[in-house]
């Protein structure tokens, strides 16, 4: 009987090990696949010419596989949308957790979380039909499908994630810390800025990472509203072509195992490395500023 129970325990143990490891296994397989399908492009083009070439003409003869403009497109969209989304997201979180009346909070928080569930194609459609003509008419632009439009749409997607998770972190700061600060004569604002925000920094960083990493990999929105010109943007109203949009637009027609096909996988690899490095930096920052003791979450 004892042996049987031990065997059962072991089976359950193995089951959960496999479940727990499945994420890593799948990730490894995807990475291997990306490397296998992406590396052959470097037989045709050097790593340097691929990463730093500014011309992307994959179907012309001779082809050019320079992705610097695509990298610039991704980077500019992510930076601008972060500039919009982070202050807005954290601001809403502070308001919800510290300032808003509990009844207001009970209405606003679920609403924000509802926005999070909007399909990205709907957001893209909105950007295309409503925002693009508006931008173009208001600012007299050549086109309304541009870097700014895409960044606003991505920020719109990231704000709910950032606000909702930051709010949990801020709300979770122990009441005695806040009370201690107030008791020492700090105003509400001083308490928020000097006690509550530092105490919830780890949670807020996680919120920002989750919000922004969604923006890096987001495909549908940038495919629909970023405009798609493979140039290094000179103004926030220039059209750009971020990497995911380029892969999505061209993969369907790229002949199987052609240079173009391999180049698209290599872009996927670059995108993977970017997201990975971004997550590492963010995790490192979160670890470094982690509060210990009662404030840790």
């Amino acid at each position: 009987m004892g042996a049987k129970r031990r065997a059962k325990e072991l089976l359950i143990h193995i089951f959960f090990l496999v479940v727990g490891a499945s994420g890593i296994i799948v990730l490894t397989l995807i990475l291997l696949f990306l490397i296998m399908e992406g590396l052959p492009v470097f037989d045709t083009v050097s790593v340097r010419a691929f990463l730093f070439g500014t011309m992307w003409y994959p179907t012309h003869y001779p082809p050019d596989f320079g992705i610097l403009a695509l990298i610039a497109g991704s980077a500019s969209v992510v930076v601008l949308s972060s500039l919009l989304a982070i202050p807005l997201g954290i601001g809403s979180a502070i308001y919800l957790a510290e300032i808003a009346h509990p009844k207001v909070r009970a209405v606003i928080k679920p609403t924000i979380e509802l926005i999070e569930g909007l399909p990205t194609v709907v957001i893209g459609f909105f950007g295309m039909i409503v925002v693009a003509p508006f931008l173009q008419e208001t600012f007299g632009l050549t086109t309304g499908l541009n870097l700014f439009n895409a960044s606003v749409m991505l920020a719109f997607m990231a704000v709910p994630t950032i606000a909702s998770i930051s709010e949990d972190a801020i709300y979770g700061v122990p009441a005695h810390m806040k009370e201690g600060s107030m008791a020492l004569g700090a105003t509400h604002w001083e308490t928020i800025a000097r006690v509550i925000l530092p105490a919830s920094l780890t949670g807020i960083s996680t919120a920002v990472i989750l919000g922004i990493s969604r923006a890096i990999g987001e495909t549908m929105v940038v495919l629909m509203v970023a405009g798609g010109a493979a140039i290094i943007p000179e103004s926030i109203f220039d059209p750009v072509r971020p990497m995911p949009a380029n892969i999505a637009a061209e993969m369907g027609n790229a002949p199987f195992r052609s240079d173009h096909y391999h180049a698209l996988f290599a872009i996927g690899l670059v995108l993977f490395v970017f997201t990975f490095v971004f997550n590492m930096i963010a995790a490192h920052l979160a670890q470094k500023h982690k509060q210990v003791g009662a404030a840790s979450l």
């Binding site: 049987k4 500014t54 011309m55 992307w56 003409y57 994959p58 179907t59 012309h60 003869y61 403009a69 295309m128 039909i129 693009a132 003509p133 173009q136 050549t142 086109t143 309304g144 499908l145 495919l223 629909m224 405009g227 798609g228 010109a229 493979a230 140039i231 059209p239 072509r241 999505a248 637009a249 061209e250 369907g252 027609n253 790229a254 002949p255 199987f256 195992r257 052609s258 173009h260």
Partner: protein, 277 residues
């Protein structure tokens, strides 16, 4: 423990048997699968509907993932017919033959690719040279081609779509479009952008023309169905079905239906594309 295992296997074998019976049941009806170009998709759809009306026991399933995808699926053996908006590439033929497949082309319709602008744009005729210069980024303002003083927003398709390939061959004659050209992923997206942007010029298949767009004549030839069929309008192309080897049985019957002047070709005319006859 043992008893459980036996019961488990009994259920499993029952499920397998059920699956087998079900599978046989489905394969009793004839199926044709079509995959490929989104440009040809509307044609395949209307042909499939017409065909299934006439032969109710046949099930035609259609998907659109791009011309390249369709031909790839034909070579993989996952589709019966590949729909393509461009001629098959040399590399694709070699790949097919290496894998023991022999793509056979059937022209099923014509498509004119027409330059379009916003209805408020006064420009209604361009020469091929002017159009080429616009797409190369050499002409950047509408006033240089007789329009208003506005910068030109060049709208193009993704660089591997069949529409782009034809446009690039005939209008740009292989030259590279300006990197400032905006890439949009479908005829629909171009229609949307051009009808909302007074600066824009784009190109679409003739079937997508609507009242929110203005078609531009090329060298004085209006982009009409008659001009496309006669070959006077310069930017037109043939749309293809590819089958694996010469078609037989149900697939042959479907191709015959598609090419019949009174049946398939009449339906092609209803989609907004140009029928062969």
């Amino acid at each position: 423990m043992k008893k459980h295992a036996r019961r488990f296997f009994r259920i499993l074998s029952l499920a397998a048997a059920a699956l087998f019976v079900f599978g046989v049941g489905v394969s009793a009806a004839e199926r044709i699968s079509i995959n490929g170009s989104t440009t040809v998709l509307p044609i395949s759809q209307i042909l499939a509907e017409g065909y299934m009306d006439e032969y109710p026991n046949v099930n035609v399933s259609i998907s659109g993932g791009g011309s390249g995808n369709g031909i790839r699926a034909l070579v993989d053996g996952t589709t019966d017919i590949a729909q393509s908006s461009r001629w098959i590439r040399q590399s694709e033929v070699e790949n097919a033959v290496d894998n023991g497949h022999f793509p056979v082309p059937f022209a099923i319709a014509l498509d004119a690719i027409i330059p379009v602008v916003h209805p408020d744009n006064p420009v209604d005729n361009l020469s091929l040279d002017q159009l080429k210069a616009i797409y190369e980024g050499k002409i950047r303002n509408w006033k240089d081609v007789g329009g208003e003083d506005r910068s030109i927003a060049i709208i193009s398709r993704d660089s591997d779509s069949g529409t782009y390939v034809v446009w690039n061959d005939i209008v740009l004659k292989g030259a590279r479009p300006s990197p400032r050209a905006q890439l949009l992923a479908s005829n629909g997206a171009i229609t949307q952008e051009v009808s909302g942007n007074r600066n824009a010029i784009g190109y679409i298949g003739i079937g997508y023309l609507n009242e929110n767009l203005k078609a531009v004549s090329l060298d004085g030839v209006a982009p009409t169905y008659d001009n496309a069929q006669s070959g006077d309008f310069p930017v037109s192309r043939t749309l293809w079905f590819f089958t694996d080897d010469w078609p037989k049985g149900e697939i042959l019957r479907f191709i015959n239906f598609a090419l019949h002047p009174e049946k398939g070709q009449k339906l092609v005319g209803e989609t907004g594309y140009v029928p062969l006859y």
